[in-house]
Amino acid sequence: MTTTSPNSPLVTPEESRPPLDQPGPGTWLRKHLFNTWYNALLTIILVSIMLLAVWGIFNWIFRIAEWAVVPNNLALFMSGLYPSELYSRIWVMLGINVAMAGITWGLLVRNQGKLLGRNVLIGVAAICAGFIILPLTRPVALTLIGLVVLTLVCAWVGKTLGQRKLSLSQFLAAGWFLVYSISLLVLAGGDIRNSLIYLVAAVAISIWLTSTLLRLLANASVLDAISGNTAGIWVMRVLWFAGSLVLFLPVYGFLNIPLPLKIITLITYIAFVSLLVPILAERKTLTTFVVTASIFGLSCLALTAIPNAISGFFGLEPIGTNNWGGLTLTLFLAITGIALCFPIGVIMALGRRSKLPIIKGLSIAYIELIRGVPLISILFMGQVMIPLFLPEGVRPDNIVRAIVGLTLFSSAYLAENVRAGLQAIPRGQSEAAASLGLNNPLTLSLIVLPQALKIAIPAIVGQFISLFQDTTLLGIVGLVELLGISNSILANPKYLGDYAEVYLFIAVLYWFFCYAMSLGSRRIERALNTER
C-alpha cells in the first residue's frame, strides 16, 4: 500500500486497516470547495482576496520597503548603546550561552537515536544559508556560522558525556546558573566582588566546608542518633550556624555591597541555614548535598579567582547598565524575570492553600493586590517609590527596579496558574502518600508539585511569554530595550518614516522567541506524558 508510511514498523494485515478515504486532489476540491454553487462563488471570492493580499505583501517587502534601516543599525538593535569597541564581550557571552544550550540539547536527547536527524540537518542548513543571504558583514556572518558549529559540537559532547555519566543531567540547572552569572560578569565587567556569583560562591563554600566539618566530627550513626530528637536537631542547628558564620564572614566581608543590604542578606542566610539543618542532617540528603555543593563551590571559587587574575590583562572595564540595551537587555530582563518569578509564584500558590491563616491571608493579599494593579503603575512605583523606602545612599539600579516590578507582577499571575494545577490533583494522591508514611514536605515535593506543575505547564509558559512581551513597557520608564532602541532609531532623521520596516523586524524577533518558548513547552509536555 502506498498510502501508509514506509517507515512504519507495524505492518498490519490488509483487512484490519481502517477504510481508505484518500481521494485525489480533484475529488477533494469538488467535495469541499465546489460542492454547491454558493460555495464555489465563496471559494473564488476568498481565493482572489487572498492572492491580492499575498501579492501586496510581497510587493511591499521586495519593492517598496527600504530595508537599509535594519542592517545599518543591526548592532543597535542587538545591543543598544553598548560601546562598539567592546562588542567582543557580547559575542563571548553569546558563545557561552550557545555552548550551554548545545550541551543541554545533547544531554536531553542522549537516549534518542542520532543527534543529526534529517530535520535537524535541514534546520542547520537553512540557518547557515540565512546568515549568508542576509546583508550581514562577512565577519558577522562567519561568526554566526561558527556559533552554529559550536552548538553542534557542544551537543555532541553533551550527548557523549550524558551517555557515560547518567547523573550529569541533574547539574543542568546549576550549569545554567553558572552560565548566567558568567554572562552577567562579561556583560557588566567591573569589580568581581560586585557580582552575584561571588555572593553565591561565598555561601556555597561556607555551607560546603561546614557540612564537611560536621561530617568529619560526627560519624553516620551519631548523626542518625542526634537527628532523631528535637534537642539533637537544635544542637546541630547551633553547630551548623556558628560554623558557617565563622567560615562565611571573611568571604562575605569582601563583598562590595552597602551595609544594610549586607545585614538583610545575612539574616536571610541565618534563617535559611537553620531551617535546612534537620533536612541536611539526614545522611542521604547530606551526601547528595555535599557533593553538589562542593562541585558548585569549587567551580565558583575558580571562577572568582580566574577573572581577578586576568582582569589585569583583559581589563574588564565596567559598563554601567545605562549602556545596556536592545535585544540583549530584553533577553536579560525576560530571563531574569522568569527565573525569579517562578519560585515566588510557586511559594505564593502553596501559601494560598496553606491551613495557617496568617500565611494564607498574606498570600491572598499579595496576589489580589498585585493582580488589581496594572503593570505600568507597578513599574512607575518601582522607579519613584522604592528609593523613598530605602536608606540614603542606597539607590538600586534602574534595571534592578524594573526587574523587581516585572517579577512581583508576574509571580502573582503565576501563583494562580500553579494553584489551578494544585487544585486539579485529587485528594487521594496525598492520602496515599500519607498512608505510606511520607510527611507533608515530601508529599508536596515528590507527589503533588510534580503533577500540578505538569498540568500547569501551558498556563505557566503563557505567563512567561507575556512577561517577555511586557518588557516592552520598560521603554516607558527609560530603558532602551528592543522597542525603546527601535523608537530611538526611528527618531533619527535619516530613517524618518521607516516605521513599518523597523516594527516588522522587531515583531519577527519577538515572535521567534515566543514561538521557541511555546514549542519548548509542547515538547516538555510530550516528554512528561505518562498516559501513552
Binding site: R283, E431, A433, L436, G437, L442, L528
Partner: protein, 262 residues
C-alpha cells in the same frame, strides 16, 4: 500486650483472651466538620494474623472507621491503640502509626507520574531511607508476588484496573507494615478483574498478615475472614464468625442487610 504469645490458640474457636490484639479501638466517636456524627462509639479489637471483614450499607461509617486506624481521619472521642502505640496526632506519633499500617484504596491512588517500580520504591527510599538498589530488589520481589513484575517500567495509566490495584498492594507491602487496611479494594474494578485482586489478598491472608477489609465480596468474606463485622449508622451492629453471620445472623438489622445483598 504483655500477655502475648502465651498460647497458640486456633483462630476459629473464639477464645480471644490470650491472643495479642494489634488494634484496640474503644468507643471511637467522630463528627464531621458540618456536625454530622459519623461514628457513634465504635469498639473493635483485631488480633494478630486475623482477617476482619467490615460490611455495611453505604454511609454507615465503615470506611471512615478503618481510615481512623492509620490516622487519615481524626476522631474526637475514644481511643485507638495500634500495636501498643496510641494514636495521638502529634507528627512523630502519626509517622510511627503509618509505619505499622498499610492501606489500599478503592481508587488505587497510584502516582501517575511515576513508573510502577518507582511507585513501589518511593516510600522505602524516602521514608525508610533504604538504598535505591535494595529498595528496587525488594520491590521486584513484591511485584513478582502480586504477579506483575514484567510491567515494572510501565506507568500506572498503561495498566488495567486490576493490575493497578495489585501494584497498590505491592506499594503498601514495600513498607513492611504489620497491618493492612483495604478500603473497598474491588469496588472500582470491572467484574473480570475482581478475582485477580482477591487472589492476591487471599495469598496475603494465608501468609499471616493482619487485615481489615471493607468489602462487599461475600465469597471472599466467607472463605477468608476470621470475623465479619456489620456497621450501620455509625454503630457496630454485629460481630460474628462468617459462618454464623451469613447463615444465622443474630441481629434483625443484619438479616435485613443480608437479604438485600445475597
Amino acid at each position: 500486650m504483655t500477655h502475648a504469645n502465651m498460647s497458640m490458640t486456633n483462630h476459629s474457636n473464639g477464645s480471644t483472651v490470650d491472643r495479642e490484639a494489634v488494634i484496640v479501638a474503644t468507643d471511637v466517636e467522630k463528627w464531621y466538620d458540618n456536625g454530622f456524627n459519623v461514628l457513634k462509639g465504635v469498639s473493635l479489637n483485631v488480633y494478630k494474623g486475623e482477617v476482619v471483614v467490615v460490611m455495611g450499607p453505604s454511609g454507615s461509617g465503615k470506611s471512615t472507621f478503618i481510615r481512623t486506624f492509620n490516622a487519615l481521619e481524626p476522631y474526637q472521642k475514644g481511643s485507638i491503640v495500634i500495636d501498643d502505640i496510641e494514636i495521638s496526632y502529634d507528627l512523630k506519633n502519626i509517622e510511627e502509626i503509618r509505619r505499622e499500617v498499610g492501606m489500599v484504596f478503592q481508587q488505587f491512588n497510584l502516582f501517575p507520574h511515576l513508573t510502577v517500580l518507582q511507585n513501589v520504591t518511593l516510600a522505602p527510599i524516602w521514608v525508610r531511607k533504604q538504598k535505591k538498589r535494595e529498595a528496587e530488589a525488594t520491590a521486584m520481589q513484591l511485584l513478582e508476588r502480586v504477579g506483575i513484575a514484567e510491567q515494572a517500567d510501565k506507568f500506572p495509566g498503561q495498566l488495567s484496573g486490576g493490575q493497578q490495584q495489585r501494584v497498590a498492594i505491592a506499594r503498601s507491602l514495600a513498607m513492611q507494615p504489620k497491618i493492612m487496611l483495604f478500603d473497598e479494594p474491588t469496588s472500582a474494578l470491572d467484574p473480570e478483574m475482581v478475582r485477580e485482586v482477591l487472589d492476591v489478598m487471599r495469598g496475603l491472608a494465608d501468609s499471616g498478615m493482619t487485615m481489615v477489609c471493607v468489602t462487599h465480596e461475600v465469597g471472599f468474606a466467607r472463605e477468608v475472614a476470621d470475623r465479619v463485622v456489620l456497621m450501620d449508622g455509625g454503630v457496630l451492629v454485629e460481630e460474628n464468625t462468617p459462618d454464623e453471620f451469613f447463615n444465622n445472623p443474630k441481629e434483625e438489622r443484619s438479616q435485613k442487610f443480608l437479604s438485600q445483598i445475597l
